[in-house]
């Protein structure tokens, strides 16, 4: 074994296939997108190199900044909802009756495809015979809102299924992390007289802080590049009221057939995600790993 590892050729041979795949399927397209973003191109005809003109246009493009704002708003809501997931997992990981069943129930939305979830929530939000408005009119509200047609609420109406969709995923991660805390530490804390609240905030949460940091990065980056339900439920409408960065990129590239500008949006999305990831790592890195 040692012999083998010292042979650089053999190492190269083993690393080569995945490296090639990653380079060909991820890095080369990224570089190509970077190049396309400097061109004017409809995807079919001649490419015209126009330097940074697309980026100049992007900075002045109000619709793009609106979509950036929507994406960040989603990121904020996702991170806030992490608190809720953490609370649920703390309860589930304690000795609750039926915790196993509940955990499975929370996981179900994750097993559904985004399109199915979109269709489901389209039914719920249907303005005249949807479940939600039926319920509201049952309560005596005369003019329940048009959830997906009203520009001032459409974005929040879509956030709810998005957050609901990922609940199971984060609860599963937190649950697994909490279960990996050695029981001896918890027993020791209980003997020392810690109440359940102290147990949670002083012992459990600090111990899984590493996992929490990872989920924050996941939630933020996942929100910034989010696309599925927006596309299925409103397609960014009405008139861009629910447009996010990824859907804006799609519309520019595949609807307006402006691949050059679409690539510019895509590259900016990558850039924004990288900066935000770096920032989060920087901000959460200060405290060292907690160990007892």
């Amino acid at each position: 074994m040692n012999n083998m590892m010292s042979d650089k050729k053999v190492i190269a041979l083993y690393i080569l296939p995945p490296l090639l795949l990653i380079v060909a399927l991820i890095y080369i397209p990224i570089i190509m997108t970077g190049y396309y973003s400097l061109t004017q191109w409809d995807g079919i005809g001649q490419m015209k190199f126009i330097g940074l003109d697309n980026y100049k246009e992007l900075i002045k493009d109000g619709m793009f900044w609106k979509s950036v704002y929507h994406s960040f708003l989603l990121a904020v809501f996702s991170v806030i909802s992490l608190l809720g997931y953490l609370a649920v997992s703390l309860v589930l990981s304690g000795k609750v009756k039926g915790a196993n069943l509940l955990r499975k129930i929370y996981l179900i939305p994750m097993l559904l495809s985004s399109v199915a979830i979109g269709q489901l929530w389209l039914r719920i939000y249907h303005p005249s015979n949807g479940m939600l408005n039926y319920f509201l009119s049952f309560l005596g509200i005369e003019n329940p809102p048009n959830w997906l047609a009203d520009p001032s609420i459409v974005l929040y109406a879509i956030f709810i299924p998005i957050i609901w969709q990922y609940a199971g995923f984060y609860i599963l991660i937190y649950y697994a992390a909490l279960k990996s805390i050695p029981p001896s530490i918890i027993e020791a804390a209980i003997i020392d007289g810690a109440n359940p609240l102290q147990l949670a905030y002083k012992i459990k949460v600090p111990l899984i802080s590493g996992v929490i940091k990872v989920t924050i990065v996941l939630a933020v980056v996942g929100s910034l590049k989010y696309f599925d339900l927006i596309y299925v439920m409103t397609d960014g409408g009405p008139n861009g009221a629910s447009e996010v960065m990824a859907s804006y990129m799609y519309h520019k590239a595949f609807r307006s057939f402006n691949f050059g500008y679409g690539s510019t949006v895509a590259f900016s999305l990558l850039f924004i995600c990288m900066i935000v990831t770096w920032l989060i790592r920087k901000l959460t890195n200060s405290s060292e790993e907690v160990q007892y």
Binding site: L148, V154, H251, F254, N258
Partner: protein, 437 residues
């Protein structure tokens, strides 16, 4: 160190080789095999899968079988995709110059980039060899760029307003003759708690139809056309007036609740469930109102249609329609079997025209002889209206280039949602049309 450099070098070489082979797969192949007697294969890409478009698929297969029988040296290989996937695949194939020999395209704005990229072959030669007289006049023009025709249409659609006869008779209403009548109908229905018009404006082109008709009836057939092709201006008073009328309809609650968030399919189901009295849509819906056995017969018998009424003092003609040809067939410019492909297209258009209405309920772009075929009354009425048509205005989003079309569709949604004033609506149209000319 040298070993490291060596392995890195290896990686680079192989990575490069991979990229290069990926790019060059389309360059080989023999240049010409079109001499008679030699086996040739025509690749044909279309968007009628057996699952979702059963009737169309059947006709396609029959036509291909017949063509292969008459031309024993030719085989036609089909590739079938659903609408959206089809559009995406066509685009990708175009960028790597691997278009099928024969395929389907849409008119005007969709077709233009392909023509500019020299990917479609002009079809004027087969059009002038006797095919031209078979088409309903004006239908092939939507596929022409610089006086050359690059595709030949298979479908022709116009957009009547369908209405539910039973709801109308319940409130003693008659199909309107003027726009005032129409507004009275809307008012009566609203008063009685019936949603007047089913509209799914999430899809946006659906609302565009309403705007286009109002623009046509107020400003005449050419105003909107000229505004789009830049012979005129979008800030024409009649186009502002049309936008105002749209918002008046919205204020009257003429459209179903939450229409801006509903898809066309959802709106259609409101009409089919008799929750809305009227529905403005293309004649591609006719099978649902006539022959489709999955729709209850009682409902099918209740559906009638009327023409968009004339507006008092407007320049429009009641026989002017919004509509246009649907998909058309193109031949790839780089096809190695261009001659056979063109023959196939000609054969296909002729055969298709003979049977599409009777077998699939699709109105072809070629003339239909209604005397000799048996059709439901609604079809015969539509076909005879088609013969009387004074003008067919192509859907606005198809007329415009893709960038302007997106802006137009978004503005339509804002207009119906009362988020933009009619003045700003036309101003923003003018800006984007001037910019993307």
């Amino acid at each position: 160190m040298s070993k490291k450099a060596y392995s890195l070098f290896c990686v680079m070489v192989i990575a490069f080789a991979l990229v290069l082979t990926g790019c060059s797969s389309s360059t080989n192949g023999n240049p010409s095999s079109s001499e008679s007697g030699k086996k040739v294969t025509i690749t044909f890409m279309h968007l009628w899968p057996a699952g979702s478009s059963k009737q169309q698929n059947m006709i396609v297969n029959e036509i291909i079988k017949e063509f292969e029988k008459q031309n024993p040296n030719v085989t036609v290989k089909q590739e079938v995709l659903e609408n959206e996937q089809y559009k995406n695949k066509l685009k990708i194939l175009a960028s790597s110059n691997e278009l099928p020999d024969v395929g389907m395209t849409w008119a005007a704005g969709f077709l233009e980039p392909y023509v500019k990229g020299n990917l479609f072959a002009p079809l004027d030669d087969i059009l002038n060899s006797g095919l031209k007289d078979k088409f309903v006049s004006g239908t092939t023009e939507a596929y022409a760029v610089n006086n050359k025709t690059y595709a030949l249409p298979l479908e022709l659609n116009i957009t009547p307003i369908y209405y539910n006869k039973k709801i109308f008779s319940k409130y003693h209403l008659e199909p309107p003759q003027t726009y005032e009548d129409f507004k009275n109908i809307v008012q009566t229905l609203v008063k009685n708690g019936v949603a007047p018009i089913a509209l799914g404006n999430k899809d946006r082109w659906t609302g565009s139809l309403w705007y286009m008709y109002l623009a046509d009836r107020i400003g005449g057939a050419d105003t909107l056309k000229n505004a789009i092709n830049r012979k005129g201006s979008f800030e024409d008073p009649s186009l502002i007036k049309a936008a105002e009328e749209v918002q008046k309809l919205v204020k009257m609650k003429a459209f179903i609740k939450g229409f801006n968030g509903l898809s066309n399919d959802e709106a259609k189901s409101e009409f089919m469930n008799e929750k809305a009295a009227m529905y403005l849509m293309g004649t591609w819906e006719l099978p649902n109102f006539t022959t489709n056995e999955e729709v209850p017969k009682e409902f099918r018998d209740k559906v009638g249609f009327f023409k968009f009424p004339v507006v008092d003092g407007g320049k429009g003609d009641v026989n002017s329609w919004v509509g246009g040809p649907g998909v058309g067939l193109f031949v790839s410019e780089n096809s190695k079997v261009k001659k056979e492909a063109k023959e196939f297209v000609k054969f296909f258009i002729e055969k298709w025209g003979e049977q599409s209405v009777t077998k699939a309920g699709v109105i072809p772009a070629t003339k239909v002889d209604t005397a000799n075929i048996h059709l439901p009354q609604l079809y015969i009425d539509v076909l005879s209206e088609l013969n009387k048509a004074s003008n067919i205005t192509l859907f606005a989003d198809v007329q415009m280039n893709p960038e302007a079309a997106q802006t137009h569709l978004n503005l339509i949604q804002s207009l119906f949602g009362e988020e933009v004033t009619p003045k700003d609506f036309v101003k923003q149209h003018e800006e984007v049309l001037a910019k993307t000319q």
